[in-house]
C-alpha cells in the first residue's frame, strides 16, 4: 500500500504498541535549551540516573540570553542562573553544549540544520513548539513539554498516539516580493489557528519544490501556528545539497549509503491523507497580520476585514484584537506608522533572510522613527553575514546588528518592544504582549519588514523591490 512520508517515519519509530495504549515512540535527536530542560535534568539527578543517549543530544543557549555585544554579563539574576544551570547540566551529564563563542551557539532550530544534525527520516524533539522547523528536511519533529524532555533524556522515548495527516499543496509561481513566509501566513489565515489541530502537515507542490532549505524551514516552523504538531517536506536534491559537508553530516561511504536511504523517505505516488488542501500562490500578496493571533492576517495592500464580514464565532475575538492593536475595521493597513522592526527568530534569522533584507536596505536608511534590531540566528549565520558585508549594510542603514538568540520574538530577555509601541516582525506569534507587555506585533516576511522600516510605515515590498 502506498504510504505518505509521515506514515513511513511513524512506523519506523514505533518501538512497541499495545492495544488501547499509545505507542512507545523512539526519538533520534533531542535538542535542548536553557528554559525547558532544567526540570528534566533535575529529575534525572534526583533519581540518580544518566542521560541514556548522550550522543543523540545537544544543548545551546538562546531564549533568555541578552543579544548585546557584552552578552557574557547577564543582568537578570534568574536568566543568569538558568544559563549557568544549563552549563552545569551539560557538563555533569556529558552533553555537548554550543555555548557563547563556540562558533555555533544560536537558536536551537537554526543550529540543528546548520550543524547537519537534522537529517531525513529522523524523529526530533525539543521543549519548544517551533521544533516543527526541522520537518523541512523530511524529519518528524515536534515540540514537547518539560516532562517529555525528561522522558527522552532518561529513555530515548515518549508515549505518543498517531496523529492524522494533512496534505497542503502550494502551486504556482509567486510574484516578486512574495516569499515562503507569505505562503504559510496565508495558509494560517485560511484554515485558522486551530485548523491543523490533531494533524501533521506534509507540504507539497511545485512551489515547495522551488524553495531553498531556508524558505522551507520558515514554512515548517510556522506549522504549529495553525495547530499542527509538525510540518514535513519530503527530501529532494535541495535537501541533500544543504546537508552535504556540514559538521555532523555523513561522510564518504556513509554519505552514499545515507542518500540511498533518504531517497526512500518520501511520499509514495498515490498515497493518501486524512485531509487535503491546495493553495494557488501565483496571485498571493505579501501577507501581514492585523490582530493578536497569526490567523488574523491579510494581503498588505488589502483592508482589515469589517467585524460583520467575519464568521460570528470570530467576531468578539476580532473586536478585542483591533482594540488591542489600535486599528480600525475596514481600513487599509498599509501606511500604519511603526516604532520597531525586528528581523530575527527561528522563523526568519537564517543567512538567506538576512540577504533578502540587506538587498533592500543597501544604500538606504531606515526611518528616524524606527528602532530596528537585526539578530542573526546563530554565530555561524553572523559570521557568514559579516563575511558578505551584510552587517555593514544593516549598520549603515541605521539598524542594530546584534548577537544571536531568540531576542525580541518572545519577551523573555532584555529585547522587548515597550508597551504601546508597534513592531513589524519576522517572528511567528503576535499574541497579546508576546514581544513585551503591551507591545503590538505585525507578522510579515523579511522583505516586508525591511521595506516598512525604510518607510516608517507598513509598506508593500512589491512597490519597492525590483
Amino acid at each position: 500500500m502506498p504510504k505518505n512520508i509521515i506514515e513511513k517515519i511513524w512506523e519506523s519509530h514505533v518501538v512497541i504498541q499495545k492495544n488501547g495504549h499509545p505507542a512507545v515512540f523512539g526519538i533520534d535527536l533531542q535538542l535542548t535549551h536553557e528554559v525547558t530542560s532544567p526540570q528534566g535534568f533535575e529529575k534525572l539527578r534526583q533519581r540518580g540516573q544518566q542521560v541514556k543517549q548522550t550522543h543523540r543530544m545537544i544543548c545551546t543557549l538562546d531564549h533568555s540570553i541578552p543579544t548585546r555585544k557584552n552578552r557574557l554579563e547577564i543582568y537578570d539574576e534568574n536568566a543568569k542562573n538558568q544559563v549557568e544551570q544549563l552549563r552545569t547540566n551539560a557538563k555533569e551529564f556529558g552533553i555537548p553544549i554550543f555555548d557563547f563563542d563556540s562558533g555555533h551557539q544560536g537558536i536551537v532550530h537554526v543550529i540543528g540544520p546548520e550543524l547537519g544534525l537534522t537529517q531525513p527520516g529522523m524523529t526530533i524533539v525539543c521543549g519548544d513548539s517551533h521544533t516543527s522547523t526541522h520537518g523541512a528536511f523530511g524529519a518528524l519533529a515536534f515540540g514537547v513539554g518539560s516532562t517529555e524532555v525528561g522522558l527522552v533524556m532518561e529513555t530515548g522515548c515518549i508515549l505518543q498516539k498517531p496523529l492524522k495527516t494533512l496534505k497542503v499543496e502550494f502551486n504556482g509561481i509567486p510574484q516578486a516580493g512574495v516569499y515562503s513566509k507569505d505562503y504559510i501566513l496565508a495558509l494560517i489565515t485560511q484554515i485558522g489557528i486551530a485548523g491543523g489541530n490533531g494533524h501533521i502537515i506534509e507540504f507539497c507542490g511545485e512551489a515547495i519544490r522551488a524553495l531553498s532549505m531556508e524558505e522551507r524551514m520558515t514554512i515548517c516552523n510556522m506549522s504549529i501556528e495553525c495547530g499542527a504538531r509538525a510540518g514535513v517536506i519530503s527530501p529532494d536534491q535541495t535537501t541533500f545539497e544543504y546537508i552535504k559537508d556540514r559538521k555532523y553530516a555523513p561522510k564518504t561511504e556513509d554519505w552514499e549509503k545515507a542518500i540511498q536511504e533518504w531517497k526512500q523517505i518520501t511520499s509514495d505516488k498515490d498515497c493518501s491523507y486524512d485531509k487535503e488542501i491546495s493553495i494557488d500562490i501565483s496571485t498571493l500578496m505579501p501577507q501581514i497580520t492585523w490582530g493578536t493571533n497569526p490567523e488574523q492576517g491579510i494581503g498588505v495592500s488589502e483592508s482589515i476585514p469589517t467585524i460583520s464580514s467575519l464568521p460570528s464565532s470570530h467576531q468578539s475575538t476580532a473586536k478585542k484584537a483591533l482594540a488591542y492593536t489600535k486599528l480600525q475595521e475596514g481600513k487599509k493597513i498599509e501606511g500604519t506608522p511603526l516604532d520597531y522592526a525586528f528581523l530575527g527568530s527561528c522563523t526568519n534569522s537564517r543567512i538567506e533572510d538576512l540577504r533578502i533584507a540587506a538587498k533592500i536596505l543597501k544604500d538606504k536608511v531606515i526611518s528616524k522613527n524606527i528602532t530596528m534590531l537585526v539578530v542573526p540566528g546563530s554565530e555561524a549565520v553572523k559570521a557568514q553575514a559579516e563575511s558578505e558585508g551584510l552587517d555593514k549594510i544593516f549598520l549603515d542603514a541605521g539598524c542594530e546588528w546584534r548577537m544571536p538568540g531568540c531576542s525580541m520574538c518572545l519577551g523573555m530577555n532584555d529585547d522587548k518592544v515597550p508597551s504601546g509601541k508597534r513592531c513589524i516582525s519576522t517572528s511567528n506569534r503576535n499574541f497579546v504582549g508576546r514581544q513585551g507587555t503591551g507591545s503590538i506585533t505585525h507578522l510579515a516576511s523579511p522583505a516586508t519588514v525591511a521595506v516598512s522600516a525604510i518607510k516608517g510605515v507598513i509598506s508593500d515590498p512589491r512597490k519597492h523591490t525590483s
Partner: protein
Amino acid sequence: MQSFQTLSSQVLPLNIKDIDTDMIIPAQFLTQTGEGGYGEHVFQRLRLDKNFPMNNQKYTGAQIIVAQDNFGCGSSREHAVWALLQYGIQVVIAPSFSDIFYSNSGKNGLVLITLEDQLIQSFIDTAEKNEEYILSIDLEEQTVITQEKNTHSFDFDPFRKECILKGHNDLEYLTDHMSEINQWQKNREENLYYSTLQQNNS
C-alpha cells in the same frame, strides 16, 4: 503525578477562544528553573483588566475553568499547566484543546474535558449570571453533573484515564518496556549517521 477521581467546584468562566499559553503564563516568568512558583503569575496580563473574571470575588477558590475553543494554543511551555495547577485549577472544560497543551496536561493530572459548544456556552452564561455555579466531575464515570442535576458524558482516552485515576506517570510505563527500547535503539543505530559526541568534518 497527583491522582484525580472526583471534584465538585465553583466554575471560573472564561468566555474567550484561543487562550494561548502566553496568556496563561507570560514568557517573562519562565526564567525559573523549577516546577514551582508559577501559580501566582497565572493569567498575569489578563488580570491587569479589572473586569477579568479571576478578579471577581465570586469565583475565588474555583477549581474548574470553562473556556472556549482551542484552549492552550501556542508555545509548548509545560509551565502553563504547572501555573494552572498551582493556582488551584484541576479541570478545564472547553470545546477543544491544542495538542501539546493536551499532552502536557495529561502528564500532570490536569483533567481536560471536551464538551460541545452549546453546552459550554450555557455553562459560561450560567456561571456569569449566578452567584454560584457548581459542576461535579467524575473521571471514572466520565460525567459532568450540573447544579441542575443534568448529567453530561464526555469522552476520555482510556489509557490516560487510568494514569490519572491511579497517579501513574509515563516514565513507569517506559521503564517497564526497557528491553524492547534497548533492542530498538540498537537496531536504529544502523540508520543514523551522526553522533553529537563526534564531529565528522575533516
